[in-house]
Subunit: 370 residues, 2 copies
DNA sequence: TACTCAGATGAATCCCACG
DNA sequence: ACGTGGGATTCATCTGAGT
């Protein structure tokens, strides 16, 4: 495992390590505003039948009493409040968190996220293609778990690789319900006796999609309930840095061995479809300066509106003057207008969007970046 | 509308009526332990900011009604606490409740349900087959809403028609995620001017499934946020008794007229559209997420072209990037190309079309439909 | 009639670099 | 910090007019 550290003020950030201990204490020892993404799969040990243990492992006596249930909810809320606050402190201002849970705990996590000022971006349903059936026929097959994606605050400029997720979904915008098989087969880690190494190991496909969606290569991803290290394994494959925190030594050992055996994907495979927003801005005036369009030349719209190009890169049409966007919006009575795709010019007798000229300039810029 | 009443101690239960007023006050005026099922679709507290336009510049009709405005989470919690307590009092000991919401409010409702001693049986995801897209490309398509099904207490012997739901689902155990279209077309109620009678009308198919699952004929179903009366309409069709509570006179009027026109047991309008695709679409990206192909892996074409797989399920080859189909077409100089049959990967030293992997996934899907 | 195609629309916490 | 304005962004389904 490669170990790097990042300086952040006085404290340093231990990268690609599995830290031992209680996640709240460990997170509190890390520098604030230092982590890009947190993925958390906390225990739901609200025990509903049989022995009831509070999250701190103290035992609750009576089970069937409403007040004891309430007491255990209170304890679980206290636990949730503590680790979410610690997580929020170490998140960068533009950072985000994903938590996963079932109906036993996810409502309490979601409410506490909101209470602490996290800003929910989506709730995402992991729809299991092969869930365990409900054997007694007393309820619906519990065929999904819920993830909550939230930024540190409402104003956060969170990372979302929209185009990459659209590409993952065959060119259609990715939805909030994801069909992914549960973790089994070769991917499921077993001990020497053939028993599951961890009771709730998450599929790598789930983490793959989360990280492609919400991080960029080189980002730091922290998992406070690391378990057998799915988060670390996928982070390494995808060229992200990880920080794991895990209390149980047995899990840490399994995770370390697992991650050591992971190979990084090569760099080219990690670059992902880019949004147009990432492309350099080209002022319309540049087309005029370069002689791609002449002052006085007439542009037309799909619905037959016309405007004349002026030497300074503005348009004029009857009583309207201004940018390609402003004139387009005014002529359409629309709140806004993308002039690049709205206006067309004549080439070889055919009307062609002026965006074609911008693409030519961008292609030149890519060849000779200056 | 047939009006019956049921005696319960001193007070009586008004059946098949729409009661005017605040739902907490009205519920408090009803006898305790008297209702079999409550279905509640409370305000979501959406907290919308500015206007939203589609890419074609048309404006999205926002849910900006006064009844959805709350000053804070604290105010919303107070509201939730009050109506859930009133609802719980009138529920029979073996009764149950369904609530529906989005990520804006459902976590707070779920936590409060637990706090009050309701016993969650399932969270149920309504997966919309035709949700509104995310127009700005800043988040995932919000393609689902969440329902919570809870009994009055842990010891409740709640109603669950397991076999009926299994039958509704082609003989396979019903799962916790339900695919149902949003309410539109002829089912969507309009006023004389052609505007939506209610901004958030729920589909009858959803209520149909809830009532078939959780009630028997003759049961009393109460809806404290009746709106335009979907709950009442479906209850009448299915031979259940309903009690509606609605504050707004305009909604009550629409609902009354609607329910008066409902015929019992008119199942034709209720059959859930199955719309099975002959062959389900499998995004190429799924092969990457599932680890069937690795980012960086090289695919080859019959004529020796090569391309590398990227983490988002796109390919890259020399100067061309894009989907398996786009890159294939570009390399062949063809207008189109079926990437599934064009590209091959290496398995056991032999080149095999990637379509083989798609067939594997489809086979899994066929074994476990839904 | 049957089919095509343009237009409308749905519970939505929906931009951001630059001056 | 705040205002300005360039310019990026959509899927499934139903309706209704036209052929």
């Amino acid at each position: 495992m490669t170990t790097k550290t990042k300086k952040k003020g006085a404290a340093t950030l231990p990268l690609n390590e599995i830290l031992a201990g209680d996640c709240v204490e460990v997170m509190n020892s890390l520098p604030e505003n230092s982590v890009d993404l947190i993925f958390a799969d906390p225990p739901y040990n609200l025990q509903l039948r049989g022995d009831l243990h509070r999250p701190d492992n103290s035992k609750v006596d009576a089970v069937d009493d409403h007040w004891d249930q309430f007491d255990s909810f209170k304890a679980y809320d206290k636990f949730t409040r503590a680790w979410l606050a610690a997580a929020r402190r170490i998140l960068k201002p533009n950072g985000a968190i994903w938590v996963i849970g079932s109906y036993h705990n996810v409502f309490r996590m979601g409410a506490e996220l909101q209470n602490q000022g996290f800003w929910i971006l989506n709730d995402v349903v992991w729809r299991k293609s092969n869930p365990m059936p409900n054997f007694r026929g007393k309820r619906l097959t519990n065929a999904h778990e819920t993830m909550i994606w939230a930024s540190k605050q409402e104003a956060s400029k969170y990372t979302f690789n929209y185009e990459a997720l659209k590409a993952l979904n065959d060119g259609v915008q990715m939805r909030s319900d994801w069909v992914i098989p549960i973790c089994n087969g070769h991917e499921r880690l077993k001990d020497d006796a053939g028993n599951k190494a961890h009771p709730t190991q998450k599929p790598e496909a789930l983490l793959h999609r989360v990280m492609v969606a919400a991080t960029n290569p080189g980002d730091v991803v922290l998992d406070p309930f690391f378990g057998t290290g799915t988060t670390g394994a996928v982070a390494k494959m995808l060229g992200r840095e990880f920080i794991g925190i895990e209390r149980e030594e047995a899990y840490r050992e399994v995770a370390k061995k697992r991650i050591d055996n992971v190979r990084k994907f090569d760099k080219e495979a990690l670059t992902v479809s880019q949004s147009k927003r990432a492309q350099p801005r080209v002022p319309f005036g540049q087309l005029v300066e370069r002689g791609m369009l002449r002052p006085g030349e007439v542009l037309t719209s799909p619905r037959g509106k016309v405007a004349k190009v002026r030497a300074d890169g503005t348009l004029v049409s009857d009583d309207v003057k201004g940018s390609i966007h402003q004139v387009g919006a005014a002529l359409e009575g629309a709140p806004s207008c993308n002039g690049w795709t709205y206006w067309m010019f004549k080439r070889d007798g055919k009307n062609v969007p002026i965006d074609l000229l911008r693409q030519q300039i961008r292609a030149e810029m890519a060849e000779r970046p200056n």
